[in-house]
């Protein structure tokens, strides 16, 4: 295409002006501002914990919960140990009543 020939699109592009603002621009702008303010106002984890633990009731509840969790975990461990001990006692009882099992290399498998 030579320089003298004019592209039909040029006329259209010359007529093109800036895009009109959307109808609800106010609402969009205010929503963005509110979102930014909310982000700035949201405290981090540590300040939240600080705020919660400043109440003595929450602090007490936290300590009691820690103690209860400790007790619960210990109970789980104790019940597991008791199961293992019962299995061990079963095996040793079988050895006690059967001299053949007292010899090395012979072990019951209950």
């Amino acid at each position: 295409m030579s320089a003298e020939e004019k592209d039909p699109l040029d006329a259209l592009l010359d007529r093109r002006g800036p895009a009109p603002p959307p109808d609800d621009i106010d609402r969009v702008v205010w929503r963005r501002i509110a979102l930014l303010q909310r982000k700035e106002a949201r405290p981090g984890l540590w300040p939240t914990l600080d705020a919660w633990f400043s109440r003595w009731s929450v602090a007490t509840l936290f300590l009691v919960s820690c103690a209860l969790i400790g007790l619960f975990m210990a109970e789980l461990r104790v019940s597991q140990q008791e199961r293992e001990r019962n299995a061990q006692l079963t095996r040793s009882y079988l050895v006690l009543i059967n001299p053949l099992l007292q010899a090395p290399g012979a072990r019951p498998t209950p």
Binding site: F53, L100, P110
Partner: protein, 151 residues
Amino acid sequence: MKRTLILLLLGLAVGTGSYRLQLHFRATPESASLDHHLAWMKAELNVSDEQLARLRELHEASEPQMRLLASKVIQLQGELAAFEQTRRAAGEVDFMELGRFVEIRRNVYQECLVSTRQLVVASAALMTPAQRRHYLALVAPSMAAEVSPPM
């Protein structure tokens, strides 16, 4: 901030402390004595004090013989290992000696079988049907070991 940190550390200490204390107070001593086995039977089979006293008598009465038989079994295993070592070293076996050994071992195993069965049957006779079923299920592996002795 400092208060929160102290509280978190205190919570960790309280949790760990309660865990360790509970484990300490609930721990049971490890032992394989007859008393522990009887206590285990009482808990496992739910036997009465009277049944437990009879079970104790039975087990205490059989204990010396069981020990004697166990020492015989261990001695026989040693002899068998010696036979195997001689066979590997010299490449020959004294069949007369081996035959004598097999005969003795058969008798000892038979004694073990009879002793264990007597104890199990006598113990089971003291129990209720439900206890007996549970007891026999528990000692079944021991009886199976008698059926197929090593070698």
